[in-house]
Structures are given as structure tokens and as C-alpha cells.
């Protein structure tokens, strides 16, 4: 039976595998800009192409939110065969996307759009989409998603602080890295889109157990997944380890897309979860 309401998100949700089809989610791309060239995340450029380009580009790319017009266009199209939609987006503290969606929605008369500021980024948004898609009505979906927003967490291990620092999202001091040593920060994106340093480590192999340790101290969780930027083996290993210790958890794996990848850089890893 087809849902009466649509589920919309943006490309920073990093929907794993077939979730887009499985849960029938519309994905609006953010943009990544290399110099004069603008690419729609996941549409004009895929992840492999993006990271290859990132490695060779002398200047770091910039990113931008979809325009209100693009949202208006999508909502107009969805209005034809839905009686409403829930639109779940990257945290307003991190991007203008949710604001753009809100403005876009206002120009589509007679179509109910529930814009959700997820206060997070990457796969917790995918979990929220799943929750929405499995709800019986738009009201129920909206309530269920809003209730879960404060529990969204991204525990990220960056291979370098270079990209996030250049993007202006986190300073070295915030990441507890005030030194020239190439430390690897373990960052936590909490509710409100607040980015907090939880640890710092010298090597990657030491960092991964720390990540898992922190995650386990933050349990119980409703959903958990692993995201990575061009580090599939590491992600697979983390997921396998977690599945062994917590057989009741599903643990899907997602790839960090171009827009988020601009800020994390390559080889970033994330444990993403929804606290119970």
C-alpha cells in the first residue's frame, strides 16, 4: 500500500545501500563547488569522483545548500500524488538547507510540508527517514521523528583536522588540538548540531577502539550504523566487531557524500546512532 505522505531528505543523509528505494525517500542534493564548477552531490558527481578530485585539487571545494526554488519544485511535483510530506534535513547549525526547505514550502500552497531540523548530519538522518517512512500518517511520522531528534549522535574520527578547520566548522582548540602534532580528533555531533571533542589520539588503530568504547558508554541505542569516506575496510571491520558484541543491532554502512566529505576529508569514519 502506498503511503499518503512523502518522505524527503537531502544528500547529506548518506542513505545506505538501497534505502532510497526501500523506504521511498526523495533526496535533494546539496552542491559542491570546485572553483568555477558546481556539482550536485550524488547527481553530477559521485563519491569516488569527488574524493579523487579532492586529493588533486589545489584549493579546497566549498559547499552550498539547495535553493528554495529547488525545494518548491520538488514539493510541487510531490503534491500531485501525496497529501503532505515530511522533509528531514541537515542541522540548521551546520547548513542553510532546512531554512531553504521552509521558504520553498511556503510557496507551494495547499500542500502540507513538515520541515524537520535534524540537528545532525549523515546517517542519523537516514534513521529518521526510516522512522518516518514506517509511520502510518504524517502526524505520526512528524511526532516520531521530532521525538528522536535530540537523541541523534555522530561520533566522528577524522584522519586529519585540515578539512574541517578550513571549512571553519571546528577550530583546533575546540578539537582539543592546539598543537602542531598531527593528532586525530574524535568529535561528537550532539543535539543542536553542537560539535564537541571527546578525545584525541595519535594513531588510527588506537582511535577505533576508543570510538567503540565511547559508543558503548552511550548505549542503549535504537539504531546504529557506520559511515566512512573512502575507508570501506575500516567501516566493515567496525561494523563486524559491533555486530559480534551486539547481535541484536543491525548496523548498516553508509558512505560519506561529497558535501560532508568536503569537511571531513578522506578516511573519516563515523559511528552514527540514535540514543534510546
Amino acid at each position: 500500500m502506498k503511503r499518503s505522505f512523502a518522505v524527503v531528505t537531502d544528500s547529506t543523509a548518506d542513505l545506505p545501500g538501497d534505502w532510497r528505494q526501500r523506504y521511498d525517500v526523495e533526496v535533494v542534493p546539496l552542491k559542491v563547488i570546485f572553483g568555477e564548477e558546481t556539482f550536485r552531490d550524488g547527481v553530477d558527481i559521485n563519491n569516488d569522483e569527488f574524493f579523487a578530485r579532492l586529493a588533486t585539487s589545489s584549493k579546497l571545494p566549498t559547499t552550498s545548500a539547495p535553493s528554495p526554488g529547488e525545494f518548491a519544485e520538488l514539493y510541487t511535483r510531490l503534491a500531485k500524488d501525496h497529501d503532505g510530506c515530511i522533509s528531514i534535513h541537515i542541522g540548521a547549525a551546520l547548513s542553510a538547507t532546512a531554512e531553504s526547505a521552509r521558504v520553498g514550502a511556503q510557496s507551494v500552497e495547499g500542500f502540507r510540508v513538515e520541515v524537520i531540523d535534524s540537528e545532525t548530519v549523515t546517517m542519523p538522518m537516514a534513521f529518521l527517514c526510516k522512522v518516518a517512512a514506517e509511520s502510518a500518517s504524517l502526524d505520526e511520522a512528524t511526532a516520531a521523528v521530532k521525538q528522536r531528534v535530540p537523541g541523534c549522535r555522530v561520533l566522528a574520527l577524522l584522519d586529519t583536522l585540515r578539512y574541517i578547520e578550513m571549512g571553519g566548522r571546528v577550530s583546533r582548540a575546540q578539537a582539543m588540538i592546539g598543537t602542531m602534532l598531527d593528532l586525530k580528533p574524535l568529535l561528537l555531533v550532539k543535539e543542536g548540531g553542537e560539535i564537541k571533542a571527546v578525545d584525541r589520539v595519535r594513531t588510527r588503530s588506537r582511535a577505533i577502539p576508543r570510538m567503540i568504547e565511547f559508543f558503548e558508554s552511550d548505549m542503549p541505542v535504537e539504531y546504529v550504523g557506520v559511515v566512512h569516506a573512502q575507508a570501506p575496510e575500516d567501516a566493515e571491520r567496525i561494523a563486524a566487531g559491533l555486530r559480534e558484541r551486539h547481535p541484536d543491532l543491525e548496523i548498516p554502512i553508509g558512505q560519506i557524500g561529497c558535501v560532508l566529505g568536503t569537511h571531513t576529508g578522506p578516511k573519516a569514519l563515523g559511528l552514527v546512532y540514535l540514543k534510546k
Binding site: A173, M176, G178, T179, M180, L181, D182, L183, D199, R200, V201, R202, T203, R204, S205, R206
Partner: protein, 546 residues
């Protein structure tokens, strides 16, 4: 010698004897320095002992106490405050044991002196975790035994007892190579033991030449090299005020009462000494009030008032250091380290105060105490970052009201690993456990040049050779940095590690650095290599392997 036909050792005589020791050690301390078993530029034992002894007699010079117990107590306290290096710390424990043994005595007869020397050695043994024979400890014990044997004769005179102690020390020093393999290999006697022998000989000379003036004896005293203990902490709102120090000379001085009154006028208060002579140290905004108050108790000596705000501002400005938000766990960090780059790295990782020092410049207990007192936290983790500093660092917790934890880091890489693991939102106990485990995980390779020909750990080393130490132990010698480092990495099992951090020393050239980097990369392609400017002296390269 007629006037001392039957003299006991009283305050003035013991004071003279100690000044004689200082003079004799000062004349000969370079000889002690040369007795370096390791071919690495090491903490100079002679200098460390001399500085410790200088600190021991510092307060004594101002004292006219008649009782030997009072002079001994001042020496004990002064040596503890100035203790540097392992031998210096053990020396301070010898003074402490001596002071305890003579407590309440105004003068000592030969038997009492001998007993006190024996008790001094026992106290030193007790102070050391794992006493090693063939060191200053053995020499102290043998000196005490020889003194006791001499004192058992009813006709024994004071110079005979001291002469026996000095001879006992000398004999014990000569035997040290038979007790310690490293001494035998290097073909030297134990430096700390030799230092103690000089101290006893200096006393003996004083007794024999009592007519010489003290001034003459001490005239050749060299100036102690300054060890900076700069600290970089945020300037508290009320300012630092004035560091005010003086001695109060009086009678029946009530230390507790003086302390309570001084504490009301400032912080970092130290009130120590005897009812006749009290040393006061305080950081206060109103030195005049402190001085007026203290002046009511007695005569003030060695008054010294320094404007700390100016001092600190100058240091802070020159280093561009800015204050940081207070830590939720209320735990401060103090590290001993030298070299511009390394100082910056430790500061950048969040260390609140740096005590400059390390391999050849061992900071005193007092230097570390000053740094700890300057940190705006009541609980402090102290990282010595050098094995020669650990023992002095371990004296600090007993000397301050602050809760001090000494994390026994043996090297710079261990210190860095420990600080990286520190988190400002975690209680001290949890931090210490995490820091200790990280410090133990990291492997240290130090590369330097042999300062002399020697044989150590089965290796024959020629002066000037490149030598490589793994975790403080000499393992390889060669002619080339890359060769020695790669051998060391091979021995550690480079495949089980991920990252090598190269801390480049002051004396390593760009070409040497480049060559070392490429040598490591080509031999161990699986290792990530990161280069940091350490700026340390004596070690062209220190490597952290993890």
C-alpha cells in the same frame, strides 16, 4: 687543634664542616661529572650534588644556632628543596636521616656522630624503592660503619671518626665497579658515591684546617647555573602580587601561628624551620603588611621582594601565551621539558606550566614546586619526562598543600603520549590510568653521539659514534643516523607499529633530517613518518614509535 682537645660536634662546628664540604665538592665536582658511565650527555652528577649541597648550606650560612640539631635540620630542609638528580635526592635523604638522628642534641660525641652517619645511610636506603649496591647508598653505609668502628675506641677523637668515615667512603667507592656491571664496563667508579666521599673529605679538611676562615673556604664557590622554571598560566584577576621571602631570627617562634597569619595575607605560603629561625615564602599583594607582621617576631634576614606580575607579564608577552578556560576536572598539568619546539608541543597539548630541564639540566625539586604552585589548580599531574628527573619529582608531593601526582614518564615520547591521553572532563585517577597506559605503549628511540669511549651493554663505543638507545638502553652504535635508527626500528619490530614521530634536535641539519626520513621510509615503507621540530639539545633525534 688544642682548642678542640675534646670538642663535640656542635652547631657552629657542623656548620663549618658543611661549608668545608661545599668548598671541596665545588673544587672537584667536574671530576665527579667525568665519571659518566653512559656515553650519552647525561645529568651531571657532580653538578647536581653540588647544587643540592649549596641549597643545603644556603640557610645555614645565616644561622648562628648553637645546637647541631638545628644546623642539621636546616641542611635537611635546604637539601630537599634544592635536590637535583638522583644523587642529589639521595644526598638530601642522607641529610634528613642525619637530622632525625641528632634531633634534640646540642652537640655530638664521637659515638653519637658515628651513629648519626649510620642512621643517615639507613634513611637513604629506605627512601629508595630498589636500593642498588655499588652506588652512593653503599658508600654512605660503609662510611657509617667505618665511623662506628673508629668511635668504638674510648680515645677516639672527632677528626679520627670523620677520617675513618672518609676512608671508609673512599674504599667503598673503589669497590663500586666490582658491584655494578655498568661501572666495570665503563671502567669508572660510581659518581654519586665519589661525590659523597668528597663531602666527607671536605668535612675532614675543615677539622684539620680549622684556622682558615670560612670566607676563604667558600670564596671559590662557583655560581650555580640558573634553571629557569618559567610558567605560562593565565594571570589571575587579582594579579600575582609580590613574591616575598625572608628568614625570621628570634626565639620560641611559633611556626604554626606565623603560618596562619601569613596565610591570611597571601598564597603559596611556605613557613619552615626552627623556633629560632624560620623561612617564610609567600605570594602577597601587600608585602609591607607581611614584613611588618614578621618583624614583630624577630629580626628579618635575607629579605627579598619580587614583583611577580611584572615577571609573569614579561614571560607571557614574550611567548604570546593566552589563558584558557578552566578545566572542569580541576586538574593541572606540569611537564619538565627543554627545547623550544618541545616546549611548544607540550603547551599546545594543554600543559599549564613547563619546568625547563631534562637530560643534562636536571631541575630541582624547588623548580618543580614553583611551577606546581603557579598552576591555578589544586590537583596537579607532574611529568618528569626523563629518568634522571623522576626521583627529584617524587619529592614534590610531600612539599606542597596541592595534591600532586607524579606520572613517571621516562622520555619525551612517553610524556607526549601521556598528555595526549589527558582529558579535562575526567577525574585525575581515570586520567592517570589512561596516561600511564599510553606512556607505556609508546617506544622511545634516542639518537646521539658518544661523548667518550666506553663499553656498555656489551657494545664497544668510540667517542663520536652515533649511538641509539631504545627505552633508555644503549642498543646500537654506528656512523650514520639512518643506519642506527633502522636497526633500532628493526629490533622493536617496526611491522607492529604505525607511526614514527621524529623530534628533530637543535644540532640536526636539514640534510641529516631529510636523509634520516628517507632512510626510514625506504626500509620501513609501512610506517607513517611525521617530523616535528623539537629543538632539544644533545639528542639530534628523538623518535617516538607507536
Amino acid at each position: 687543634m688544642a682548642q678542640r682537645a675534646n670538642p663535640g660536634v656542635d652547631g657552629p662546628l657542623f656548620k663549618r664542616a658543611l661549608l668545608g664540604s661545599l668548598s671541596w665538592l665545588s673544587t672537584n665536582h667536574e671530576e665527579v661529572n667525568r665519571l659518566n658511565v653512559f656515553p650519552v650527555p647525561d645529568g651531571d652528577t657532580g653538578t647536581n650534588m653540588l647544587l643540592t649541597l649549596q641549597s643545603a648550606v644556603e640557610d645555614i650560612k645565616e644561622s648562628n644556632a648553637a645546637e647541631v640539631s638545628k644546623i642539621a635540620k636546616l641542611a635537611s630542609h635546604g637539601s630537599l628543596m634544592g635536590a637535583r638528580g638522583n644523587s642529589g635526592v639521595i644526598l638530601s635523604q642522607i641529610f634528613r636521616g642525619f637530622a632525625r638522628a641528632v634531633e634534640g642534641k646540642s652537640s655530638l660525641n664521637p659515638a653519637e656522630l658515628a651513629a648519626a652517619l649510620e642512621e643517615a645511610a639507613n634513611a637513604a636506603y629506605r627512601a629508595v624503592n630498589k636500593p642498588t649496591e655499588g652506588t652512593i647508598l653503599t658508600v654512605a653505609r660503609e662510611a657509617g660503619r667505618a665511623a662506628t668502628a673508629a668511635a668504638s675506641s674510648p680515645e677516639a677523637t672527632m677528626p679520627q671518626v670523620i677520617a675513618a668515615a672518609a676512608a671508609g667512603a673512599r674504599a667503598a667507592v673503589l669497590k663500586t665497579p666490582s658491584q655494578l656491571q655498568i661501572l666495570r664496563d665503563a671502567g669508572v667508579v660510581d659518581a654519586g658515591g665519589f661525590g659523597l666521599q668528597l663531602i666527607l673529605e671536605g668535612m675532614l679538611k675543615t677539622l684539620e684546617e680549622l684556622d682558615s676562615s670560612i670566607e676563604e673556604l667558600t670564596a671559590s664557590r662557583p655560581v650555580a647555573p640558573a634553571v629557569a622554571s618559567q610558567v605560562a598560566v593565565a594571570l589571575p584577576e587579582e594579579g600575582w602580587g609580590y613574591c616575598t621571602e625572608f628568614l625570621i631570627e628570634g626565639s620560641n617562634l611559633d611556626l604554626d601561628r606565623i603560618k596562619t597569619q601569613i596565610e591570611a595575607l597571601g598564597n603559596s605560603v611556605l613557613v619552615v624551620g626552627e623556633p629560632e629561625l624560620v623561612k617564610v615564602h609567600v605570594h602577597t599583594d601587600d608585602p609591607t603588611r607581611v614584613i611588618t607582621l614578621a618583624g614583630g617576631y624577630g629580626k628579618l634576614l635575607k629579605l627579598n621582594v619580587g614583583d611577580m606580575s611584572t615577571q609573569h607579564r614579561r614571560i607571557l608577552e614574550s611567548e604570546g601565551q593566552t589563558g584558557t578556560a578552566p578545566r572542569p576536572n580541576g586538574v593541572g598539568l606540569v611537564a619538565v621539558v627543554a627545547g623550544n619546539g618541545l616546549v611548544d608541543i607540550f603547551r599546545g597539548l594543554g600543559v599549564d606550566a613547563i619546568v625547563e630541564g631534562g637530560q643534562t639540566m636536571n631541575p630541582s625539586t624547588q623548580d618543580m614546586l614553583t611551577a606546581i604552585d603557579s598552576v591555578p589548580y589544586d590537583e596537579v599531574i607532574l611529568m618528569p619526562n626523563n629518568k634522571n628527573v623522576i626521583l627529584a619529582a617524587k619529592q614534590v608531593p610531600g612539599l606542597t598543600k596541592k595534591k600532586v601526582h607524579v606520572l613517571e614518564t621516562h622520555s619525551v615520547p612517553q610524556g607526549v603520549a601521556a598528555v595526549v591521553a589527558f582529558r579535562g572532563d575526567r577525574p585525575a585517577a581515570d586520567n592517570l590510568a589512561a596516561m600511564r597506559s599510553e606512556a607505556e605503549r609508546v617506544q622511545t628511540i634516542e639518537v646521539t653521539h658518544a661523548v667518550r669511549d666506553t663499553r656498555s651493554n656489551g657494545l664497544k663505543v668510540k667517542k663520536g659514534d652515533v649511538i641509539g638507545l631504545i627505552n633508555d638502553k644503549l642498543e646500537f652504535a654506528g656512523t650514520d643516523y639512518g643506519e642506527v635508527v633502522n636497526k633500532a626500528l628493526g629490533k622493536l619490530g617496526a611491522d607492529s607499529f604505525e607511526l614514527v614521530t621524529v623530534y628533530r634536535g637543535k644540532d640536526a641539519s636539514d640534510d641529516e633530517l631529510k636523509k634520516l626520513e628517507s632512510d626510514i621510509r625506504s626500509t620501513h615503507p609501512g610506517l607513517e613518518v611525521e617530523v616535528q621540530q623539537g629543538g632539544q639539545q644533545h639528542y639530534p633525534f628523538i623518535l617516538s614509535v607507536e
